[in-house]
């Protein structure tokens, strides 16, 4: 039976602005299915985003949505969670939004361990502004502002999140639509800050310059280079060269959640 996405989409907003073959549509579908399976109502779900291609996503969804300033979605989301802890918060943004312009908000949200889910759409480039390199562009990859190849080493967003203190960190790709949905559900049900990084393709800004000329070749590249955590444990360092590990990379339930801590100290609890 065809899945009914229309129930969660604002009427008349499709087709969306993303380029033909952009993986973000696939991520949006997985997100809708995960939220529906969690049984969250439209009134208790809040989706916050910053600026960029990925951050256009909440505009299409029929939840409480917030389109904020560049990189600051986590600051707004933290405020919402503290004001009304019963709400379910999902904050999303692209790699530039979360690791460059909102980098400080990202690491400090991870450090605080506030109960919400951060979804980072990593397409290795600033897609909306014309394909400038971002902190996640791999060394040697070409971008508009790196015509001879990227010189700087790139960020690993998952390792950054683990180091900063996030209690649930996972990674998937836009090819793996069903495993991604499962990771979203795990992240949503985790108490504390969860970070899910999704590797997506930007056929327009990144693929055309880096020998991935069609959207499908980007999806198949993700399929070939993704290694699950279980498989990676059996592989040697040479075999893992150039690949990335998917699945739940880190989970820690011992750390206290920020809102509970805050309520315990101030004695101020929402009835």
């Amino acid at each position: 039976m065809a899945y009914n996405y229309e129930e969660f989409i604002r009427q008349g907003r499709l087709p969306h602005i993303w380029c033909p073959g952009c993986g973000y549509g696939i991520i949006m579908k997985s997100m809708i299915r995960a939220i529906a399976e969690m049984g969250w109502t439209k009134d208790e779900t809040v989706i916050a985003s910053g600026i960029g291609c990925a951050s256009r996503l909440p505009g299409y969804l029929d939840f409480n949505t917030l389109h904020t300033t560049h990189g600051r979605s986590l600051a707004f989301a933290t405020g919402i969670k503290l004001a009304n802890p019963s709400l379910k918060i999902v904050a999303l943004g692209g790699d530039g939004d979360m690791s460059a312009i909102g980098g400080n908000h990202f690491i400090h949200a991870c450090r605080r361990n506030i109960d919400m889910t951060i979804i980072v759409f990593n397409n290795n480039i600033y897609g909306m502004t014309g394909g400038q390199y971002s902190p996640t562009t791999p060394i040697g990859a070409k971008a508009t502002t790196a015509p001879y190849g990227m010189l700087e080493p790139d960020f690993d967003i998952c390792k950054l999140a683990i180091a900063a203190g996030a209690t649930f960190v996972a990674r998937s790709t836009s090819y793996h639509a069903l495993p991604m949905e499962k990771l979203f559900k795990e992240a949503f049900s985790h108490k504390g800050l969860s970070v899910v990084e999704i590797i997506a393709g930007c056929p327009t800004g990144y693929g055309r310059k880096n020998n991935q000329r069609t959207p499908t070749s980007m999806l198949l590249w993700q399929k070939d280079h993704a290694v699950t955590k279980q498989m990676a444990e059996k592989m040697s360092a040479e075999e893992l060269e150039g690949k990335f590990i998917t699945g739940v990379l880190h989970q820690d339930t011992s750390k206290k959640e920020y809102v509970e801590n805050y309520d315990a100290i101030t004695g101020f609890k929402e009835k």
């Binding site: 899945y3 087709p15 969306h16 993986g23 949006m28 959207p215 499908t216 999806l219």
Partner: protein
């Protein structure tokens, strides 16, 4: 007898060809820059096209 019914919302399709290439039985093709059902008889209702269409343009119903 076809195993499924495929509805393509042409006004949403951007012709990215993801569905055409990922379909294991070559049911779909591109006509006038939009996805098109070429041979519904081959469809096994695996739902790959619906699952990975980024534009919410394909709906597959198992019969």
């Amino acid at each position: 007898m076809a195993k499924s019914e495929i509805v393509i919302h042409k006004e949403r399709c951007k012709g990215c060809e993801i569905c055409v290439i990922l379909c294991p039985t070559q049911v779909l093709d591109i006509q006038d820059f939009k996805a098109n059902v070429a041979d519904i008889e081959k469809c096994t209702a695996c739902m790959q096209c619906e699952l990975r269409c980024p534009d919410f343009a394909i709906e597959v119903t198992r019969l």
